[in-house]
Amino acid sequence: MNISDKIFKFFGGIKPEGHKQISTRNPIKRLPLPKELIIPIRQHVGKMPNIVVKIGDRVLKGQILAEPVANMSAATHASTSGYVKEIKPMNIPHPSGLPDQCIVIETDGKDEWIRLKKIDIENISLSNLLEKLKHSGVVGLGGATFPSHIKLNANRIQTLIVNAAECEPYITCDDMAMQEMTQDFVDGVNLIMHILNIPKTIIGIEDNKPQAISKLNSVLDSSKNIHLKIIPTVYPSGDEKRLIYLMLGVKIPKEKRPTELGIQVFNVATLISIARFINYGEPVISRVVTVTGALGQPNNYQALIGTPIQQLIKDAGGDPSQEVIMGGPMMGFKLPHTDVGVTKAMNCLLAVTDEMKSKASTEMPCIRCTKCVEVCPAQLQPQELYWHAKSKQFEKLTDDYKLFDCIECGCCSYVCPSNIPLVQYYRYAKSEIREQAKSSEIADIARDRNEFRLFRLEREKKERAERNAQRRAQVSDEDKKKLIEEKKVAIEAAMKRVEENEE
């Protein structure tokens, strides 16, 4: 299969300072087993899984703590052996700052696995495999945490695209994983190609990862259907639609999914976890986390899910009072609480630097300089979105300026000379519009109900009238005369009684 080497550069994007080398100097590190693990039950997009353990239970490493309840759900596992200490709502790494159900495991230091069973990929039906994957806890580890078994329920996929761009500054977990777990990564690619019968794969990787590139080149030589495309370092090349365009020159139309065009995209860490599950039977109980920023020794860690992040920060030379961003500096959010455990979505912990704190904060008026237009990868008009979000003209936002095509990548805010927090305005407008849609939906339902009630009352009235008319019609003329006679007699009798009384 021949794939052109052409890179289709997308419109816009920015080139912020990478800061990647500070966390790639040392190999991926492992912490000693923590005393306690705080494992949120739901670490994926979809339904809350059903907890199947109770306080006091001994659990083994890899044992299911919560079962998926629907197709759009995933399992959660114990990351090491120990005892279930608590099951209660606790702080989780989420921008809302709201608590969610977590299981606290007191580790017993034995790190004792359940019996692992590899999957015989040649002799398993697709539906069985998907069911097993659903219980493997494999979700998109790029940060979206979409359950992977749903993405594998696709057919006629022509191209697998591997998202190895890792375009956010500071984050290096995929880079390091490709260097150190190269075989698992390539196995993951081959497994997906095998499962979905995909003829070709393109790995999109930014040119700021020379070591991973050379490592992959040395392994991929033998396989002709897997191509490495080295793309220039431009944020946000790792955005799914932008990456597909870079690789194939295809713009995914609005309202369509890549699968409808025969394209499926997987992230590096997800492929590794799929390979680990199929080849070794290991569910997702750990992930690589970049711990970086204003720290003494930034590093990457193979961290058990549930590891208190304070321990990672401390090991990387930080202190507990530091403010921490989860994710990269462009799209990550500042953790409302730092007493939380590592989750599947956690690709990076970024200790806030002085430079970030001193980010100029005086918001000035928009001067329509269109620096934001020049960098918007969705080719929107950020200054118009800002203007109409501020003046709450929501219809214009959705219909004319396509607010919901905004991917919140932050390029516009990054370049804005007036320091306008543009992304915040868009998030606000989006949530307002969703809220309005929801309340108008509720109003619609109420109106429908009321209309139906009126209709029903009207119908019942009509039915009653019809029933009466029918009953009247059934009564014959003779019967009527008879009735009238009877009534006359009764009246006369009554009159007589009255006269008698008067006398």
Binding site: F10, F11, I14, P16, E17, P169, K241, K251, I252, P253, K254, E323, I325, P329, M330, M331, G332, F333, K334, L350, V352, E355, M356, K357, K359, A360, T362, M364, P365, C366, I367, R368, C369, T370, K371, V373, E374, P377, A378, Q379, L380, Q381, Q383, E384, D400, K402, D405, E408, G410, S413, Y414, V415, P417, S418, N419, P421, V423, Q424
Partner: protein, 332 residues
């Protein structure tokens, strides 16, 4: 906890930096102007900009805006600079201040301040002065030799206070004025004078505006769309007229090198607030300003018409933007 919105990092670019870079790009032409005509222009800039900043501060105060960050944005500074270099340096000081008042107070703050003004503030000030004081506004000093002594003749610096009389003889018509007069008198322009005998001071200043503008493009403060479309538009439309009747209409190069062509192309119409935001809109705007300028210069009552062309086209900006919205990713 300090609020920290995503993105957490920020490019080191502010409105002040933009305005400062634009000012930097204006310096070469200013030096040329001083060399040719003396320090009077510098005195005008010092007095005029100070006045503009005071007006700006008063307006901000009255409108309950924080004064320091808004003064620091440099917009009043730049507006004043552009207006002052657009009018003859012999302009009486009170006339200049009237123009600045209209630029800063009427056309900017009365419309909602920076970012909200539909018209180019410097051009509003200029148009008010041109309509109100047409004689003064065409009293350009005659082009003399470049003289380094001009930089040291400090007596000229604040000569606007010394006398408001304009001495006859040091004032002469600009090439565009001459053409207007020649056309009015019905003389063929080729006989009235030759444009390529020598570069005069104004043409050399034009070249410095061009150089400053290219610097702004290299520094990515402005994009090519507005300046290139304006320059090409003036070139093409004056070329067509010249082809039709060379006796009446001057060649393209004359129109590029004289008047405010390069100043307007790189420094006036690139005012982001009052020009279109879409790329196709910028091209339409530039082309139309060029066309209207050529029409005013060749058929209108004023020697140069860029200011009116800019203000006229400012009216159309919302309409131009509406019909030039680009396709969003995935909607092709």
């Amino acid at each position: 906890m300090t609020p920290l919105d995503s993105p957490a990092i920020k490019k080191n670019m502010s409105v002040s930096v933009i305005m400062f870079t634009v000012t930097l790009a204006l310096i070469p032409a200013l030096i040329a102007q001083i060399g040719f005509f003396g320090l009077q222009i510098l005195g005008n800039l010092i007095i005029g900009i100070s006045f503009a900043l005071i007006l700006e501060a008063v307006c901000l105060k009255l409108r309950h805006y924080p004064i320091k960050p808004f003064l620091k944005d440099g917009s009043a500074f730049l507006t004043a600079w552009l207006l002052i270099i657009s009018i003859p340096s012999s302009t009486p000081i009170w006339v200049m201040l009237v123009g600045l008042f209209f630029s800063i107070v009427i056309s900017k703050h009365a419309y909602g301040g920076i970012g909200s003004n539909p018209f180019n503030p410097a051009m509003i000030g200029y148009a008010v002065l041109l309509i109100s004081f047409p004689k003064i506004m065409t009293n350009w000093p005659s082009a003399e030799q470049f003289d380094f002594n001009n930089f040291l003749n400090f007596s000229q610096l604040f000569s606007m206070f010394a006398s408001i009389d304009i001495v006859d003889g040091i004032v002469s018509a600009t090439p565009l004025d001459k053409i207007k007069t020649a056309l009015f008198l019905g003389e063929p322009i080729n006989n009235s004078f030759s444009i390529f005998d020598q570069f005069n001071a104004y043409q050399i200043m034009s070249i410095f505006y061009l150089i400053g503008g290219l610097y702004l493009m290299i520094k990515k403060i402005i994009t090519w769309h507005l300046p290139v479309s304006l320059i090409l538009s003036i070139f093409v439309f004056s070329f067509i007229l010249h082809q039709i009747n060379p006796d009446v209409f001057m060649p393209s190069l004359f129109h590029l090198m004289n008047g405010a062509t390069f100043l307007a192309a790189f420094f006036i119409i690139t005012d982001p607030v009052s020009s279109p935001t879409t790329l196709r809109g910028k091209i339409i705007f530039g082309v139309m300003v060029g066309l209207i300028t050529v029409i005013i210069r060749n058929f209108g009552g004023y020697p140069d018409g860029i200011a009116f062309a800019v203000i006229f086209m400012n009216i159309f900006v919302p309409l131009i933007e509406k019909f030039t919205q680009p396709k969003v990713f995935g909607y092709e």
